[in-house]
């Protein structure tokens, strides 16, 4: 549909129909769902009053457990109990070869593509694990809000690359959710801190979760959250502190062998408990009572800090880079916000305070703040608050580029570029008579292809044979507001073109998702058809309604008689077709009418933009009349 609906203050499009929207924090360790109810964002709880749900899924031949009940199986059945799956999302085998966590599971065979884990229920991908978690949370939302969710905002670490974002989207599709937006976690936290209430200033968000680390600098003014720079490490988190502490325990116990999976899991869980106690106490007693090892002793906070110092240093280094990328001086940062459970560690707090020269804010529960922010954004995006001024402007976390001769990466879009963004670059052939070109898309900051993440590749064929350097190949990169990339290439002389949505090699193939969806929903064929018809009708009706209103309001001012007549005719024709049962006909007519109304929509949009820029409110414009409109129209 081409029509841009312009909502004016106090004029909700659909005042009586509040939609059910929720924010989901799909975390490494815990996940939560929150929603705005009666104007207040709240974390939704399960029947036992728990908000946090462990991001753990237990797979067995006959049953599937998610959350607390799955967590309970971790020690007795570690190999079938998948925790921290987020660390594997969108990852290939080679990415995680040296990762500590992988030793806790059995990787399925097959070296290409996304990691899969062997379980009693077959080979499971991290996307499926995430989908199971999402399904349980969505069910909780449905129960609490009294009906299916119309849309959700899912948070992702700001530093997630394209493959990891795609995988998150796939998990949501698999769980049957409509995703309004993938929202970066630090941005969500900034929103939750209620800093959208007319306050302005620069804010740093330091987000150390279970398995990922993000730091973002945002500039706030009048409800606009503009991300200036973001950075981090999508493989650094509280888990690493557990690992280090576990290794220290083994060292102190004088154990040098290899632990069996059950012992290893129990040790990790003891290490986690000890870590949490060290937040309050300067020393804790630990007694290891594992099948492989018995030991009693004490660990001091100083020892813990010494063995995790390098992890904090890594995080602070990322902060330094982000401050520089933002173009701000440290002194210009007004507030620092802490997010994520691992920011409870005293050494993390004090290092952050030292680096930024400010005592960080932590009034909100660091475990909940991201979900709360996502709920607020979901409520705005679904259209429940049409006159809300809040707007989030985010950036691309990692540079995008193409492979060029010699295994080098040519950057097309630099990190921290505001999204959505489109950039084009021209390339040429290097051999006489070359008729095809490989377009290899990469993400990362390094110069060598081998050091960047490969997002996918495709071939442009049918380039006419010319001397080297004569062909002009234009490659266009588009990144949407979710941070997802699509790439197209064309030869300018002949118009030969090729395009891909960058489906990373570590994601699921489209067919796989479809197959999984079919298996999980068992939608009968006619169900699907009925749904398509319904959707086509809704879309058509929505176009007709909106266009009619727009024509009534602005038709005479912005259109000549012929244009007005054509659009009115289009509306009545579409209304006629909607009565029929042909999905194709409805879709075709809808598409035609929306194309025909493109120019009108553009004129309306243009006028609104001009009004906004000249600082006139809509009511002022209405009072002074429409005299300046012809001059302001773009076409």
């Amino acid at each position: 549909m081409a029509l841009i609906q312009i909502t004016e203050p106090g004029q909700a499009l659909d005042p009586h129909q509040r939609k059910r929207a929720a924010g989901i924090d799909l975390g490494t360790t815990n996940s939560l769902i929150a929603s705005v109810r009666a104007g207040q964002p709240r974390v939704l709880e399960d029947e036992y009053g728990a908000g946090l749900m462990p991001s753990v899924v237990h797979f067995s031949e006959d049953a599937l457990l998610v959350g607390e009940s799955a967590q309970a199986m971790a020690s007795s059945d570690p190999l079938n109990t998948i925790a921290s799956a987020k660390r594997l999302l969108g990852r290939g085998r080679s990415d995680i070869a040296d990762r500590a966590m992988v030793k806790n599971y059995r990787l399925a065979e097959g070296d290409e593509g996304m990691v899969r884990l062997e379980t009693a229920a077959g080979d499971i991908s991290p996307v499926q694990v995430s989908a199971e978690i999402l399904k349980v949370l969505a069910a909780r939302g449905q129960e609490t809000l009294g009906g299916g969710l119309d849309g959700v905002v899912i948070t992702v670490p700001a530093y997630f690359d394209d493959a990891q974002r795609q995988a998150t989207r796939d998990a949501a599709a698999l769980a049957g959710l409509t995703v309004l937006r993938l929202l970066n976690e630090p941005t969500a936290a900034a929103v939750a801190y209620g800093l959208d209430t007319g306050e302005s200033g620069n804010i740093a968000v330091f987000d150390l979760g279970g398995g990922t680390f993000d730091v973002s600098l945002l500039r706030l003014s009048r409800g606009v959250f503009e991300v200036l720079a973001t950075g981090g490490d999508s493989g650094l988190g509280g888990d690493d502190f557990d690992e280090e502490l576990a290794a220290l325990l083994l060292e102190k116990a004088g154990f040098s062998g290899t632990l069996d999976p059950v012992s290893s899991r129990q040790l990790l869980s003891m290490a986690r408990t000890a870590k949490e106690q060290l937040t309050e106490d300067s020393e804790v007693k630990v007694s290891l009572d594992l099948p492989a090892l018995n030991w009693e002793g004490a660990i001091s906070r100083l020892e813990f800090e010494a063995c995790t110092k390098h992890l904090i240093a890594k995080a602070i280094k990322a902060c330094r880079r982000v401050v520089r990328d933002s173009g701000l001086q440290s002194a210009e940062i007004d507030q620092v916000v802490l997010v994520g459970g691992a920011t409870r560690i005293p050494a993390v707090r004090s290092e952050v305070a030292t680096f930024f020269g400010k005592t960080p804010l932590s009034e909100l529960d660091p475990d909940q703040v991201v979900a709360i922010g996502a709920a607020i954004q979901a409520d705005v995006l679904i259209g429940n608050k049409p006159d809300d001024e809040m707007l989030l402007l985010d950036v691309l976390p990692l540079s995008l580029g193409l492979e060029t001769m010699g295994g080098l990466v040519e950057k097309i879009i630099a990190r921290n570029t505001p999204i959505p963004v489109q950039r084009a670059q021209e390339f040429t052939t290097y051999k006489d008579g070359q008729t095809a070109m490989l377009v290899h898309v990469l993400q990362g900051e390094r110069e060598q292809v081998a050091d960047c993440r490969s997002l996918g590749q495709f071939e442009l064929r049918g380039i006419p044979a010319m001397v080297a350097g004569a062909a002009k190949i234009r490659v266009i990169f588009q990144v949407d507001a979710d941070g997802l990339l699509s790439v197209s290439a064309s030869e300018l002389g002949t118009g030969v073109s090729a395009a891909i949505d960058v489906k990373p090699s570590y994601g699921l193939a489209e067919e796989e998702i479809m197959a999984m969806l079919k298996a999980s929903f068992s939608h009968a064929q006619e169900d699907a058809e009925a749904r398509m018809l319904l959707e086509a009708r809704v879309d058509a009706q929505r176009l007709c309604d909106a266009l009619s209103v727009a024509l009534e309001q602005d038709g005479s001012a912005l259109l000549n008689d012929a244009e007005m007549h054509a659009l009115l005719g289009g509306v009545s024709k579409l209304l006629e077709v909607v009565e029929g049962r042909s999905v194709d006909a409805i879709t075709r007519e809808t598409e035609q009418l929306s194309q025909a109304s493109d120019a009108f929509a553009a004129r309306r949009m243009n006028r609104e933009v001009q009004r906004a820029l000249t600082g006139q409110s809509v009511s002022q414009v209405l009072e002074t009349g429409a005299s300046d409109e012809t001059a302001l129209s773009s076409d």
Binding site: L3, P420, V421, R542, A601, M605, V609, A612
Partner: protein, 173 residues
Amino acid sequence: MDFNQNFFELFRLEVGFDLDLERLREQFQILQREVHPDRYADQDARSQRLATQWSMHVNEAFSVLSKPLPRAIYLLGLTNIVLEQNPTLEPDFLFEQITLRESLDHVVETRSVDDLAVLLDEFSEKLMAEQSQFSQRFDAGALDLATQSVYRMQFLNKLQIAAQQAEEMLWDE
């Protein structure tokens, strides 16, 4: 919005190098408030695509105008000057560049973060001096000289990036 407007017109700013950056940012936010796809998230795919295109255009304009070098190149573009790939620069300037490069290499060898910080300050001072040079020349209509300034800015910019990368490398150690 009119895709044929130049970026200054889009933001309702006077064409020129010396910009009120605060005002640019305000105008940028006002425009994004109208065109960002989030404002159309509850609407159909086509509206969102349209909004995305507009939003991209605004982001592009902001990216160009908010940074000195792209802004200078854009200004020259408005006067139909196309930059050369391999421009001829005065020997004195090139010698100076070589010397600066050498000091950078030297500092990197000594691994001194402090010395590197001093060098970075020196680079950015030189860059700022060249920028004000460009501004004066452009305003005076001395486009050939202004173009020379842009070439110098390109050199200094590359040097600055190299120094920043070196600094990140030292942070890693």
